[in-house]
C-alpha cells in the first residue's frame, strides 16, 4: 500500500507530508544557524571594543549588496517557476528554474572572488575571531546554496521533470518544497549581510 497524503492533503491537518517535513527540517536549520548566530553574539561581546567592526571593514559591501540582490531575484524566479507549473506551462517553468540556477551560480562566483580576495591579502579564518566566524557562517551558507543547486539541476533536467507528464501535482509539490528551502537559504543571507558586513 502506498504512503498516503503525498499529493492530496490530509483533511484534519490540511497538510501534505513533504510540506510538514520541510518545515520541521527548516526549524532544525533555524536552530543550526541560531547556534552559530549566538556564537557570533557571544564572541562579539567577548572581543575588545571595535575589534569586530575593524575586521568587518575589510569586507566588500558593494559585492555583498550585489549578492543580496542576486539571491532575492533567485527567490522571485523560484516562485515564478512554481507558479508556471501551477499554470500548466512547462517551458516557462524551465526558463524560470534556469534563471534561478543562474542567479545561484552568480552568487557563488561573487563569493569565490570575495574569498580569494581575502586570501590574497593574507586574511584567513585564523586571522581573527571575526574572520573565523565570517568564513564559517558564509561557508556553511555556501554549502546550503550548493545543496539547493544540486536539487535544482535535477528538477531542471529531463530526468527530474519527466514526472510532470504522469504526476503534475506531485511534481509541482516537489518544486514548492524546494522553493521553501530556497527562501530559507535566502533569508539566512538576509540576516548574514547586515550582521557580517554592516554592523
Amino acid at each position: 500500500m502506498e504512503v498516503p497524503y503525498i499529493v492530496e492533503e490530509r483533511e484534519d491537518t490540511g497538510l501534505i507530508n513533504s510540506k510538514l517535513g520541510i518545515w520541521i527540517f527548516l526549524a532544525s536549520e533555524i536552530m543550526l544557524f541560531g547556534g552559530l548566530f549566538s556564537a557570533y553574539i557571544f564572541l562579539r561581546l567577548a572581543a575588545p571594543p571595535g575589534d569586530f567592526a575593524r575586521w568587518a571593514s575589510e569586507l566588500s559591501v558593494p559585492l555583498a549588496t550585489v549578492n543580496t540582490l542576486v539571491l532575492i531575484s533567485s527567490s522571485v524566479s523560484m516562485v515564478m517557476a512554481w507558479a508556471s507549473l501551477k499554470l500548466n506551462d512547462l517551458s516557462k517553468y524551465k526558463m524560470y528554474m534556469g534563471i534561478t540556477l543562474l542567479c545561484s551560480l552568480i552568487f557563488l562566483v561573487i563569493k569565490y572572488f570575495e574569498y580569494t580576495g581575502k586570501f590574497h591579502h593574507d586574511i584567513y579564518p585564523s586571522s581573527s575571531t571575526f574572520m573565523a566566524i565570517y568564513f564559517t557562517l558564509t561557508g556553511l551558507h555556501g554549502i546550503h546554496i550548493i545543496g539547493g543547486m544540486i536539487v535544482m539541476i535535477y528538477f531542471w533536467l529531463p530526468i527530474g521533470y519527466k514526472m510532470w507528464e504522469t504526476q503534475p501535482e506531485h511534481f509541482a509539490n516537489r518544486v514548492e518544497v524546494l522553493g521553501l528551502y530556497w527562501h530559507f537559504v535566502d533569508l539566512v543571507w538576509i540576516f548574514l549581510f547586515p550582521v557580517l558586513y554592516l554592523l
Binding site: M1, V3, P4, S28, M31, L36, A39, A46, A132
Partner: protein, 573 residues
C-alpha cells in the same frame, strides 16, 4: 516507494533490497536494533576494561592486555580514550538509536495503524548515516592518533589539542544528520499517518513519548552540530572560537588569534546534552507505560497528566542546560535561574513516576519478564532522579560536581532505568516482531542477576562520590588522601560489572533460541489493547496490517465493566 513499484507482490525483491537496503520501517527498525545492541555490548566491554584497571591497577588486563602495550595495563591516555568512547558509544550509538531508531521506527507506524513511515527512503538514509557515523567512530581506534580522549563532553581547550578528536567530530556530524532525518520522519508520521479515528488523546503514551523526543532531537541537536563545526574549524583551520587569548600550553603561549571562549562550547554542548537526557528517558517511560497497563490489566492511572507532563518536560528541557555549568563562574543570577528551572522540571518527572506507581494499585499483576523489568525501572529511575536534586542546586553541586556521585546519578537513570525499560520492550514486543515468544525462565535468569549487579556497580559510586572521589582519574584517585577510605569499593564494583556481563548471556541465548524454537505467539499474546496487536505477527512486509484499520477506543481499555473480555483492542468496533 515509487508508484511504479506499487503492487502487492513483493516476492521479486532480491535479498539485498529486502534485508540490507530496505525501505520497510520494520527492517530498518531491526537494523537499528541489532546495530545498537552490538554497540551497547562494545561500549560495555570498554567499561569492563576500565573497571579492571580501577580495581587492580597493577595487574595486567586478562586476555585483552596485549592490546595496550607491553605492561598489559592502561596508560592514562588509553584510559581517557576508553572513557570518552564509552560515553559517546553508549549514548549516541547505543541507547538513543535503540530507543528512537529501533523502537520508534518499528512501533510508531504500527501503533498508529500506518503502512510505513512518511518518508521510507529518508528512513533508510537515516540508518545508513548512523551506520557510517558508527564505522568512523570505531575506526578511530585504528588511526595513528587513536580514538578521542577528551571525554564525551569534549571540553576545549583540551579537545582542541588532544589526538583523535577530528574523527570524533566528523562521526558526530553523521550521527546528528541521522538523528535529524529519523526524528523528522517520526514527527511527520505521527501527525499525518494516524489511522482514521485515532485522535491525539487516543494515542498511546509510547507514541506521545516518541513524538516529544523527536522534537527534542530536531531542535536540540543542530546547536551541537554548529558547535562541532566550530570545533572542527579550531582543529583544522587554526581558528580560536574556543581558545582564550594568552593560553599557555607546555610552557608556551599558543599562537592563535584569541578572544575565543571555552564557555561557548559548554553552552552549545549542554544545550543539546540536557534535552538529550530526556531523549534517553522519555521513550523508556513510554515503553514502561505500555507494559504496566498491560500487566496490571487496568487503564493507566492519570493518562492525561502523563501526556501533559511529557510535553511539559519537553519544553522545560530546553531551559535547564546550564545546571551542568555551576562551577564555571557564570554568575549568581544565571545559577539562580537555572537551579529554579531545574527544580521545576523535576515536577513533571515526579508526576509521571507517581502515576505509574498508582497504576499498580489494585491491579492483579502478572509477573512476566517484561513486567519485571518495567517494575524495576520505577525504583531505579526513582533513585536516579532523586539523587539528581542535590546536583541541580548550585550550592551542593559545587561539592558534588565531577565526582563519582554524578556518575552514579546518571547511570541509575540510564542503565537500570532506560536500559531496563528497553529490555522490557524487547521481551514485550519480541512476539510481535518474530511471531515467537521468549523463554520466561531464561528471562528471569536475565532479570534478577542484572538487577542485583546493576546496583552493585552504581550504588557504591554514591559512597565514593560523597567522599569526594573525582571521575576521569586513570588510577581511580589513589594519590588522594580523602579517597583512601572508599577505594576498596572498586573491587566490589568491578566484580559486579563482570558478573553483569555474564548475566547478559541468558538474554543472548534467549533471543537466538526463541527465534528458532520459541513458543508460537498469535496476534495478541499479551491480551493487549494497542493497535500493533491487531496486525499479524510478524506484521506483513510493507503493509503491516491485513485489514483496513480504524480506531474506536482509547489506548488502555482494560477491565472495562460489563465488557465480554478484560481488554478491548483499539480497533474493535
Amino acid at each position: 516507494m515509487s508508484s511504479a513499484s506499487h503492487n502487492h507482490d513483493h516476492h521479486d525483491e532480491g535479498f539485498i533490497r529486502k534485508y540490507i537496503f530496505s525501505v520497510d520501517h520494520k527492517v530498518i527498525g531491526l537494523q537499528y536494533g541489532i546495530t545498537s545492541l552490538l554497540f551497547l555490548l562494545f561500549g560495555f566491554s570498554l567499561m569492563a576494561i576500565m573497571r579492571w584497571q580501577l580495581a587492580y591497577p597493577d595487574t595486567p588486563i586478562p586476555i585483552l592486555g596485549f592490546l595496550f602495550g607491553e605492561s598489559g595495563t592502561l596508560a592514562p591516555e588509553q584510559y581517557n580514550s576508553l572513557g570518552a568512547m564509552h560515553g559517546t558509544i553508549m549514548i549516541f550509538l547505543g541507547v538513543v538509536p535503540l530507543a528512537v531508531g529501533a523502537f520508534g521506527n518499528y512501533l510508531v507506524p504500527l501503533q498508529i495503524g500506518a503502512v510505513d513511515m512518511a518518508f521510507p527512503k529518508l528512513n533508510a538514509a537515516s540508518y545508513w548515516s548512523y551506520f557510517v557515523g558508527g564505522v568512523i567512530m570505531i575506526s578511530s581506534f585504528f588511526m595513528p592518533e587513536g580514538a578521542a580522549r577528551s571525554g564525551w563532553t569534549s571540553y576545549p581547550p583540551l579537545s582542541i589539542f588532544e589526538n583523535g578528536q577530528t574523527m570524533w567530530l566528523i562521526s558526530m556530524i553523521f550521527l546528528i544528520t541521522s538523528s535529524l532525518l529519523g526524528s523528522m520522519n517520526i514527527i511527520v508520521t505521527i501527525v499525518q499517518l494516524r489511522a482514521p479515528g485515532l485522535t491525539w488523546m487516543r494515542l498511546s503514551v509510547f507514541v506521545w513519548a516518541q513524538f516529544v523526543t523527536s522534537f527534542l532531537l530536531v531542535l536540540a541537536f543542530p546547536p551541537l552540530e554548529a558547535a562541532a563545526i566550530l570545533q572542527l574549524m579550531d582543529r583544522v583551520a587554526g581558528t580560536s572560537f574556543f581558545l582564550p587569548s594568552g593560553l599557555i600550553l607546555s610552557g608556551e603561549i599558543v599562537d592563535v588569534a584569541g578572544y575565543g571562549s571555552p564557555l561557548l562550547w559548554q553552552h552549545l554542548f549542554w544545550f543539546l546534552a540536557h534535552p538529550e537526557v530526556y531523549v534517553l528517558i522519555l521513550p523508556a517511560m513510554g515503553i514502561v507505560a505500555e507494559i504496566l497497563a498491560n500487566n496490571t490489566r487496568k487503564p493507566l492511572w492519570g493518562f492525561k497528566p502523563i501526556v501533559y507532563s511529557i510535553i511539559f518536560l519537553g519544553f522545560c528541557s530546553f531551559i535547564v542546560w546550564a545546571h551542568h555549568m555551576f562551577l564555571t563562574g557564570m554568575g549568581q543570577a544565571m545559577s539562580a535561574f537555572f537551579q529554579t528551572t531545574t527544580m521545576i522540571i523535576s515536577i513533571p518527572s515526579v508526576v509521571i513516576l507517581t502515576s505509574y506507581f498508582l497504576s499498580l494499585w489494585g491491579g492483579s499483576i502478572r509477573f512476566n519478564t517484561p513486567m519485571l523489568f518495567a517494575l524495576a525501572f520505577l525504583p531505579m529511575f526513582g533513585i536516579g532522579g532523586l539523587t539528581g536534586l542535590p546536583l541541580g542546586l548550585a550550592a551542593s553541586d559545587i561539592y558534588l560536581h565531577d565526582t563519582y556521585y554524578v556518575i552514579g546519578h546518571f547511570h541509575y537513570v540510564v542503565a537500570p532505568g532506560t536500559i531496563f525499560a528497553l529490555f522490557a520492550g524487547i521481551y514485550y514486543w519480541f512476539p510481535k516482531i518474530t511471531g515467537k515468544k521468549m523463554n520466561e525462565m531464561l528471562g528471569k535468569l536475565h532479570f534478577w542477576p542484572s538487577l542485583i549487579f546493576m546496583n552493585g556497580i552504581f550504588m557504591p559510586m554514591f559512597i565514593q562520590g560523597l567522599a569526594g572521589v573525582s571521575r576521569r582519574l586513570a588510577d581511580g584517585g589513589v594519590s588522594y588522601a580523602h579517597a583512601s577510605g572508599v577505594l576498596h569499593w572498586n573491587e566490589f564494583m568491578t566484580t559486579s560489572a563482570f558478573l553483569l556481563g555474564i548475566a547478559q548471556l541468558p538474554f543472548i541465548i534467549n533471543i537466538i533460541m526463541s527465534l528458532f524454537s520459541g513458543e508460537k505467539a498469535g496476534r495478541n499474546p499479551w491480551d493487549s489493547t494497542t493497535v500493533e496487536w491487531a496486525a499479524p505477527s510478524p506484521p506483513l512486509p510493507h503493509v503491516n496490517f491485513d485489514s483496513e484499520i480504524s480506531i474506536h477506543h482509547t489506548a488502555y481499555e482494560y477491565s472495562v465493566p460489563d465488557a465480554k473480555k478484560d481488554f478491548i483492542l483499539q480497533t474493535e468496533k
